[in-house]
């Protein structure tokens, strides 16, 4: 289909695929769990797009098509691991336990963060491309110094793979043998720029040049993504150093709700990838091999529906923050200019409760 070195354990039709190095370790309940995650995150994503179209969000970055990449990677994390996302990793945030309404706070433009990154061991969204990969390596260097058996997972895309920070993070991770896994979702498009402009070789081929292994996995195959990421994290935890995982996938939707992909790519390409849908192939496997009943699928769909409705209610309830909060947490303690400006805002009567 794409690359003979692509790790795939489940075909687009939902058939098991044998691989010389990897096999799925998951039983029926676990696979059903991954299916549920993917259905829910797609439903949340669709609800979010609707909310943006209705003027309730400033922006949304859709995840459709990349559910397997994000859920497979997110579920491969151990509780004590730490993950550093960019801005599209809603599926990973879900796996880390971040409440959906917290994922949307940034897009509702009521905050620049949204959740407690230490509580969920999942850092806050990073919009400047690639910055977070260095944070991940630094955090991993801290894990090393603590002598802890933990790993760090960081996310970026084919577009960000051209950023200096990403390449510097490769150098650092290799030099210090840091316990970090670089997870690149190659969704083929950096807004309008095709991945062929970012790299003349498969992205995972870059890793050996930096001195660590690279693996390309079918990013639409949640079983393969889970196993490949899990093994890379395990290796990192026990001193095996970094791995680059390239999840080969596709962004079915727009880059963000501000984007119009019909201006730069053809429908036929999108149609090809819709036939490689990450959710349908797992559903086929579950029905055929694990004899999961239609009623179970219906229940999951209903659960996703309930979550979407709750999300809508939660988002609509998010009022305008009190302007005075802009002065909070800029500094750790007193700062004469900030304190003076805060007083000025209070005196002007601009401050007030949520509206």
């Amino acid at each position: 289909m794409i690359d003979e070195e692509l790790v795939q354990l489940l075909s687009p039709e939902g058939e098991r695929v044998a691989h010389p190095e990897y096999e799925s370790s998951l039983g029926s309940n676990e696979v059903l769990g991954l299916y549920r995650d993917m259905v829910i995150i797609r439903r949340i994503c669709n609800e979010s797009t609707s909310l943006q179209r209705q003027g309730q969000l400033a922006l949304w970055a859709p995840v459709q098509g990349q559910e397997a990449a994000q859920i497979g990677a997110g579920r491969a994390l151990a509780p004590m691991d730490f993950s550093f996302p960019s801005y599209r990793e809603h599926g990973v945030a879900w796996c880390r336990g971040v409440p959906p309404e917290d994922m949307l706070r940034v897009f509702r433009a009521v905050t620049t963060g949204g959740w407690d990154p230490q509580k969920y061991r999942h850092s806050v969204p990073t919009v400047v491309l690639g910055n977070q990969t260095l944070h991940a390596v630094g955090y991993a260097m801290g894990v090393q110094r603590d002598g802890a058996e933990e790993a760090v997972l960081t996310f970026f895309g084919d577009g960000a793979s051209s950023q200096g920070d990403v390449l510097e993070s490769f150098v650092w991770a290799a030099s210090f043998n840091a316990p970090v896994v670089f997870f690149c979702q190659n969704n083929q498009w950096g807004i309008s720029t095709p991945s062929s402009v970012q790299s003349k070789i498969p992205l995972y081929h870059r890793a050996p040049g930096f001195g660590f292994p690279g693996v390309r996995v079918d990013g639409n195959d949640v079983l393969a993504v889970y196993e490949v990421t899990k093994r890379a994290l395990e290796s990192a935890r026990v001193g095996g150093g970094p791995t680059l995982v390239e999840a080969y996938t596709y962004r079915i939707g727009a880059h963000t709700t501000s984007d119009d992909p019909t201006r730069y790519r053809i429908d036929a390409e999108v149609e090809v990838w819709k036939h490689r849908d990450p959710i349908e192939r797992v559903k086929a496997l579950l029905a055929r091999e694990f004899k999961v009943k239609t009623t179970t699928f219906d229940e999951i769909a209903q659960e996703a529906e309930r979550l979407a409705l709750k999300l809508r209610e939660d988002v609509l309830a998010m009022g305008r923050p009190d302007p005075i909060t802009m002065f909070d947490n800029v500094y750790a303690d007193a700062h004469p200019l900030i304190d003076e400006e805060r007083r000025e805002m209070i005196e002007l009567g601009v401050s007030g409760g949520p509206s």
Binding site: P117, L134, H135, G138, Y139, G142, S169, W172, Y331, P336
Partner: protein
């Protein structure tokens, strides 16, 4: 009370050593800082004593030095990053401005960006291009950062420790031309708070203000002025962001005249900020408008002619004459 004489370079070295002894989470990271001890030898001997895990010889990439220090901060470490020269900080500018400065805010106060970015700055060492710049204004403009500069060995010893202990990220500007000048260091008692300006010489005619290597030039100017019968009060600004306007205003309300001196170009500079704020605060005490003496608005020149670029005693006294000439 233990007081000893040492160079600013040694005082920084001793301050870093003491911070590392006090807190095992303090790390140093930078280019050539381990085995070599840094190009200015500020970290001399520290890797030998604290090991390669705490004094980290970094690959040569400034964005990564700062970016990984961010990750280490999230993990609870306090990293002192050495940027080898002022003009090499720009590859790290994105990390400093977009991440270091904003992550406390973005995480609603969960992340503490306890890291220090050491920046040898200003000119006066006869260097080639990119080794003599004054980029402090870029960082002073950025909310979330604090920017300080030492001018004496005693301040160097204490301010580096105070910066490491502080929970906000600190851009620590070191006047490299003063690294080898000696001064008294009190090893027991810090002189004052990290963000306090200080009067270095009392006077009553004109307040002159500056920071880093400029402070010594101001003191020389004050000596020359005194010989000519003009009394200058010298203020070491010390903290570039936030600025300690209370101390400055107290002085200017007394003298009624002031000159702000800096090596950076004038446009949107620290001196401009000082003139604007002191004009507002001390308007009814002023006997002349505040005047700035700055580096010229050109790229830092080849060092054979840097003496004509950097504010010197003549240019400072010329500005003093101008504010004195406003007397009605």
């Amino acid at each position: 009370m233990a007081t000893t004489t040492m160079t600013m370079a040694k005082a920084l070295n001793e301050g870093l050593r003491r911070a590392m002894e006090k807190n095992p989470k303090v790390l140093l990271m930078g280019e050539d800082i381990g085995r070599l001890g840094g190009v200015f030898r500020i970290t001399d001997g520290l890797q030998k004593d604290f090991g390669e895990d705490r004094v980290i010889d970094a690959p040569l990439a400034e964005s990564a030095i700062v970016g990984t220090a961010v990750g280490l901060a999230i993990r609870g470490y306090r990293t002192v990053c050495e940027i080898q020269f002022d003009g090499f900080v720009y590859p790290a500018f994105d990390q400093i401005v977009s991440q270091v400065a904003k992550l406390r805010k973005r995480s609603d106060g969960v992340y503490t960006m306890g890291l220090v970015i050491r920046l040898p700055f200003q000119g006066g060492i006869g260097a080639i291009e990119h080794h003599s710049e004054s980029p402090e204004v870029y960082f002073a403009q950025t909310a979330g950062l604090r920017v300080v500069s030492c001018s004496t060995p005693n301040d160097a010893y204490w301010m580096i420790q105070q910066s490491i202990e502080h929970d906000d990220p600190v851009v620590f500007c070191e006047p490299k031309s003063r690294y080898w000048e000696k001064g008294e260091v009190d090893l027991d008692n810090p002189p004052q708070g990290l963000f306090d300006a200080v009067v270095r010489r009392e006077g009553h005619d004109v307040t002159v203000l500056g920071y880093g290597s400029t402070v010594k030039t101001l003191l020389r100017a004050a000596q020359t002025a005194a010989n000519e019968g003009v009394s200058l009060e010298v203020i070491d600004v010390r903290s570039v962001s936030p600025l300690d306007f209370e101390t400055m205003a107290r002085s200017v309300e007394k003298t009624g005249r002031f000159v702000a001196v800096q090596e950076s170009p004038q446009t949107a500079s620290i001196g401009s900020e000082i003139v604007a704020e002191l004009t507002q605060r001390c308007f009814y005490s002023l006997r002349a408008p505040g005047v700035r003496v700055s580096g010229y608005s050109v790229p830092y020149p080849p060092s054979r002619i840097e003496d004509a670029y950097r504010p010197n005693v003549d240019r400072i006294l010329d500005a003093v004459d101008r504010v004195m000439g406003f007397e009605s």
